[in-house]
């Protein structure tokens, strides 16, 4: 077998858009020497450096931690949210997963509730507003009881942690044919519904968050499961089932 190459030549089709109300389109660029050890965002850094040296505008893209936890990076890569590898974010994708001569199409997350800000950057503030509607436990600083007063079984703590692992990247929205934020909302509702601390607010939480989600213009859930497949943290659609139960419960109990 021939040794795999250590650098790649790539053709990139990258989305360019000056602002939310402006028309957008793809620009084609070529990169000659992309190291297989680079991350995908480092490859975009190289592209931007190349554009700068040619006196052209670099592409705007969101990123910060570059280690898969802040949820800032996004991108649809060759039609796939966060690229071809399962359970990682774009910043964790490494170029060794591409081949010499590949063409890569790079687009922003697309959804009505996530308008483009510029190029590959979108506005995800709608997700913050869903959380603001009820994605928390209302305990003021200073009023908490002793931490060990309320035992939580490891199984429950683990399941709550699985849900709480959501990084709020909006990949689930971008992957969903209906642009629904159901998995995002379900992850938070489920995390808090599982824990005994979350119980006092169960009667209103799910209802308030789902209403907010609808108001923001996200679509409904029709069980396509694309969200779970795209989720970099493998948040399960089982949490959507729990959200539905919580929603029913709060629709009955929380309206008063």
């Amino acid at each position: 077998m021939a040794a795999s190459p250590t650098t790649l030549r790539l053709t990139l089709h990258v989305w360019r858009q000056a602002g939310p109300e402006r028309p957008g389109g793809f620009e084609v660029h070529h990169l000659a020497e992309v190291s297989v050890d680079m991350s995908f965002l480092e490859m975009l850094d190289i592209l931007n450096e190349q554009l700068l040296s040619q006196g052209r505008d670099p592409f705007c893209f969101d990123h910060d931690c570059r280690e898969g936890i802040c949820g800032m990076c996004s991108l649809v890569i060759n039609g796939q949210v966060h690229g071809p590898e399962a359970e990682i974010t774009t910043c964790q994708l490494h170029m060794r997963h591409f081949a010499d001569g590949d063409t890569i199409v790079i687009e922003p997350f697309r959804a009505r509730a996530l308008p483009v800000v510029r190029d590959l950057v979108v506005d995800r503030s709608a997700l913050d507003r869903i959380i603001a509607a009820g994605g928390y436990i209302s305990t003021d600083a200073g009023s908490a009881p002793e931490a060990n007063a309320l035992p939580v079984s490891t199984a429950v703590a683990d399941e709550a942690m699985d849900a709480a692992a959501c990084i709020g990247c909006a990949g689930c929205v971008a992957a969903c044919p209906n642009a629904s934020a159901m998995l995002f909302t379900a992850a938070k509702v489920s995390h808090l519904a599982l824990l005994p601390q979350g119980a006092p607010e169960r009667d209103r939480r799910a209802l308030a968050m789902v209403e907010r989600m609808d108001d923001e213009g996200f679509g409904g859930c029709t069980n396509e499961r694309e969200c779970q497949a795209a989720c970099p943290k493998a948040v399960s659609v089982a949490h959507i089932a729990r959200l539905n139960r919580e929603f029913l419960r709060s629709s009955v109990l929380g309206r008063s």
Binding site: A18, G19, S35, D37, M38, S39, L41, E42, D45, E49, L52, R56, D57, P58, C60, D62, D64, C65, R66, G68, I69, C70, G71, M72, Q92, H94, R118, R124, S125, L127, D128, I131, A132, A133, G135, Y136, I137, T139, D140, A141, G142, A144, P145, A147, N148, L150, P151, V152, S153, T154, A157, D158, A160, M161, A164, A165, G168, L195, Q197, G198
Partner: protein, 640 residues
Amino acid sequence: MSAASDRLDARCPGGDMATRWTRHKFDLDLINPANRRGFHVIVVGTGLAGGSAAASLAEMGYSVTSMCIQDSPRRAHSIAAQGGINAAKAYRNDGDSVHRLFYDTVKGGDFRARESNVHRLAEVSNQIIDQCVALGVPFAREYGGTLANRSFGGAQVARTFYARGQTGQQLLLGAYGSLMRQVHAGRVNLLPRREMVELVVSGGNACGVIARNLVTGEYERHAADAVLLCTGGYGNVFRLSTNAQASNVTAAWRCHRRGAFFANPCYTQIHPTCIPVSGAHQSKLTLMSESLRNDGRVWVPSRAGDERAPGDIPEAERDHYLERRYPSFGNLVPRDVASRAAKRVCDEGFGVGATGTAVFLDFADAIARDGRTAVEARYGNLFQMYEMITGEDPYRVPMRIFPAVHYTMGGLWVDYNLETTVPGLFALGEANFSDHGANRLGASALMQGLADGTFVIPATITAHLAGRSFERVDVGAPAFAEAEAEARARNDRILGVGGGSTVTSLHRELGQCMWNLVGMSRSAAGLGEAIERVRELRDRFWADVRVPGEANHLNPSLEHAGRLADFLEFAELLATDALSREESCGGHFREEHQTAEGEALRNDEDFCHVAAWEHGALGSTRHTEPLTFEEVHLVTRSYK
């Protein structure tokens, strides 16, 4: 040598250490709940410090404005912390106590922290855990349902609470939830994608900030009765660090230029367990949590230049140099000790990997002892992260690790109330200097961020708001106009240079200079050279930087350029501070000051003080705050 300054009154309460905080809270003025709404506080930053401060103050009834660089407050750099958070709960029945956590932190900080502050930190640590659990942070649990703990670098007790390898994320999401609750209640005005570019000072008091809306490019004026700076650390002055890309010194530096003293900038922490650099394209370094050292064994081949695969090197030909040199702490010695030891073996030619700048962190023994499942349960996501980045499977091949810049103990000087030398300006979290001395122990930054924001500032902010009279200044005042004009002029000047060097390439040069000459090991000659090179680079930046586009739209190159411009000023102060501190302590290692065995040599005679720098048109002036140790006796740190 600089003399003790009367500008640096730490306002620490005296008397019995254990009751200082309680007495101080009693002595502070209170503000009637009904009157709090009339006070407006700006909180810059939404990490653990800023997020919890904004939420807590709003819960109490204050009117709060909260801003951050990212598109959501949930993405602050605190999110990336992996390992855990300390507290003196003593749930393990292993002899832990508030006093021991206090003692360990003072000692771990190599006797360069203020005792009163550290004691308070240890005291409120337990309340933090209570609060986080109440907010639904899914901490790891024992089978009986109680909270689990692990031990972390530098401690012989298990006092670290954790949520898998995502403790920072879970804590931050807790604080973020509380913050969003207050946003919903209309008590917090949340401004994401904003960068604070100037502090506004009028009549000697902080009275607001100038922020740039990063999407529209507009400059905004925000007035307030107090400003809390919670903007994190400055590790990116080295360019490559474990910090997030947007981490910066700009906010702190702008405050410094308007009168806030900058304390101990040379105290930087290098983390021993990071993934080594793979090439020039590298944009950040990834930390492998220090908790790995609980089960991983650090070693290099006993023979320099041994190129055999690690599995082919028999036990007898491996040097577990930490276990050998520090028998009682072994692989768990503090970060600075572990980092320098790694550098030393690599400098001597024992390093491994393609570049020779790495050591092994081996889990074979842990897997043999506890089974792969147990190891996976503890570190699964870290192992996965390692494999993703390097393409190697750490269950089969030992990890390769090397130190990287991780945390900065230095920061704005603050008194016991967390107030800087500019009245009305407070600094919290990593942005201040107060609690970790010359070296921070693992799992205590998260503790400090939440302590400052949740329990300290809600009590101490009244020192300004109620304790003194100050004039309200509105955004039409000349101080705002002048500060805004300066911020605009700076960005316009950057856009106008139109040279040939990209911001990234200049930042890379700065980083190389700082890492090589002001990094793990420093000398007078190297520091002098660094200062020269930083000045030259600063001149080159202003003569030759190239930033495309305009100021009136999302322009990441312009943001980066502004931050680099401030790093280029700050870097000189960092090196100058390192040069003037003629001793080795904690994360600051001067080659001239070491024992025959290469251990750090502190100089308590001349340097048992905080160095706080005042900005001036003609250069910086060094002031000192003497440190006294009443409870923990000054001794040489020993981890033998």
